[in-house]
């Protein structure tokens, strides 16, 4: 039985359909990604799941509870990092954590929380004076203040520098090791690819694909791109390989698109013809390519 079950969810704002017949399940202990372009209905969906919005149709169960009618019981057991939320400007970091811990039935150790999210240097700093990354870390810390069984992170690494993103991913993996289920809303493809066990791709208020990141890519049969340079002018024989779909030349540079074990077969054929390029490399399709293929548009809309 899943930790979260969403069945035929529907939510409209006046005449605009934000979520249109959306269903998915989240298993205990997984990192589940909700991926989609802006305006796809991701945030609306997770806000309904957290009981922050009332759906117009469908059923939702989280930890066996109905978020619409049992929001209070549910909120004691889930953690939320929300998009577009903030804190009073003059509230200090340690005060914010103390305040939210006071509403938790099972609060975590506050000092440990502050240390884990590297906020020790900002304890006495007012919210308004924090940098974007520090605010983000504070919000993530607040999502964990009540020892949640399920945590919802909406745009987890927004505003974090590359180093902090990696560190945050590591911490999220650690938290999952501790048994917490993580629901991650993101429009960062690399985040979904590196962090998520399974990903639901949402577009125009529906789930258009749901699988592990690797199987999403594999299932679409997207091409890999093999690149190398060689002064050899005629490489027509490479196009005879079954796995090769197309080849393009730009001066010495060659670019070959193909599926399956295209790198190995191209490499052995090159060697057989006495060509051993030093820069032979392959670009495998990413979640981003899968996303483009599935939604037909860029992730940023």
């Amino acid at each position: 039985m899943g930790v979260i079950t969403v069945d035929h969810l529907r939510k409209t704002y006046r005449r605009v359909v934000a979520v249109d017949d959306l269903s998915f399940d989240v298993e205990a202990g997984e990192i589940f990604g909700v991926l989609g372009p802006n305006g796809a209905g991701k945030t609306t969906t997770v806000e309904c799941v957290q009981g922050l919005r009332r759906p117009d149709g469908g059923t939702i169960r989280v930890l066996g509870l109905d978020p619409a009618s049992q929001a209070e019981q549910l909120r004691q057991r889930i953690g939320s990092q929300l998009q577009d939320s903030s804190l009073p400007g003059r509230l200090r970091v340690a005060e914010a954590i103390e305040l939210f811990a006071a509403f938790a039935r099972h609060p975590v150790d506050r000092d440990e929380l502050i240390a884990r999210w590297r906020l020790g240097g900002q304890r006495a700093q007012a919210f308004d004076t924090l940098s974007g990354g520090q605010r983000q870390r504070l919000f993530i810390a607040l999502a964990f203040v009540n020892s949640p069984e399920v945590v919802f992170l909406d745009e987890l690494t927004q505003g974090l520098d590359p180093q902090a993103r990696r560190a945050t991913w590591e911490l999220i993996r650690e938290i999952r090791q501790g048994g917490t289920t993580v629901v991650l809303v993101t429009h960062f493809m690399d985040e979904a690819e590196h962090l998520c066990d399974r990903v639901a791709v949402v577009d125009r208020g529906r789930v258009v694909a749901l699988d592990t990141p690797q199987r999403l890519i594999d299932g679409l049969g997207l091409p890999s791109v093999v690149r190398f340079t060689t002064p050899e002018p005629d490489l027509g024989w490479l196009e005879k390989l079954d796995v090769v779909q197309s080849m393009a030349r730009h001066g010495d540079a060659a670019e070959i698109r193909g599926t399956g074990p295209v790198l190995a077969l191209v490499a052995s054929e090159l060697v057989a013809h006495g060509i051993v390029p030093l820069d032979l490399r392959v670009e495998r399709p990413t979640v981003e390519d899968a996303f483009l293929a599935l939604t037909g548009r860029d992730v940023r809309g």
Binding site: R75, L82, S85, F103
Partner: protein, 256 residues
């Protein structure tokens, strides 16, 4: 609503109130300044006290300094209810602070309870400051009936808290809350007997003022302060305001 959460939020709201210059200026400094200025303008001359104008005792039978000391207590209540409370809550809504609170089990009743507690304690503290300053500066009378003043402040907290909460539910941004709050505040301040005594107002304004909550709060505080006995009608009108504004406000705010 848990006690632990309520106390933590109340402590937080106190800290934030103290750190917010706008509320400190309008809620504490402005009434104090007006009390000092108005008492200075009208003097502290006992001879003025019995002056009759428009058939009414101009200063309710007390010296201007005494009159304004008690009236300024009501100004504190109005400033907080009409400005600080709606501005705070509108900015909480606008900036997503209410969403953040809601997602963390902070109930509407806890939030409203903490705001009203901060308001009431501020009123008591402001009253003490006004009373002490007036005592030393003009030898104004200290409250005769302390319990009566506290009851009047409680009724004022309920009425102006409810009005402030209602404003906060219908005004969506802190900028408009500032504009609307300031306008309401100064209209009430001018015609409720907190600035010129109501006796000098033209009849039309005086009649309009008799419907306003601040007029009744001024009377309720003054009656207790000067030992005229509890102002039953005025306390009842304040309670009526608290119910009339508070019921729809709480209903609209319950899922804030």
């Amino acid at each position: 609503m848990t006690m632990h959460g309520y106390l933590a939020l109340t402590r937080t709201e106190f800290r934030l109130f103290r750190r917010e210059p706008f509320s400190v200026v309008f809620v504490l400094a402005f009434p104090l300044m007006m009390m000092v200025l108005l008492a200075a303008v009208f003097g502290n001359n006992r001879a003025d006290a019995g002056k009759i104008q428009n058939g009414m005792l101009m200063w309710r039978g007390v010296t201007p300094a005494n009159y304004y000391t008690a009236a300024s207590v009501a100004v504190i209540v109005a400033a907080l209810g009409l400005m600080t409370l709606p501005i705070t809550l509108a900015s909480y809504r606008q900036r997503g602070i209410l969403r953040r609170f809601r997602a963390s089990s902070v109930s509407a009743s806890t939030l409203v309870g903490a705001q009203l507690t901060v308001a009431f304690v501020t009123f008591v503290a402001g009253t003490l400051v006004l009373a002490i300053v007036a005592r030393f500066a003009y030898h104004a009378a200290l409250p005769r009936d302390v319990l009566g003043v506290i009851v009047a402040l409680l009724a004022g907290t309920a009425a102006f808290g409810a009005i402030g909460l209602l404003l906060a539910t219908v005004i969506r941004t802190s900028r408009s809350a500032q504009g609307i709050g300031l306008m309401l505040f100064f209209v009430l301040w001018l015609i409720s007997g907190t600035a010129p005594p109501r006796a000098v107002l033209p009849a039309g304004l005086r009649d309009a003022g008799s419907f306003l909550p601040l007029t009744h709060l001024v009377t309720a505080v003054q009656n207790a302060w000067f030992g005229f006995g509890w102002a039953g009608t005025d306390l009842a009108v304040l309670t009526a305001y608290a119910i009339a504004a508070g019921v729809p406000a709480l209903w609209l705010f319950r899922r804030y």
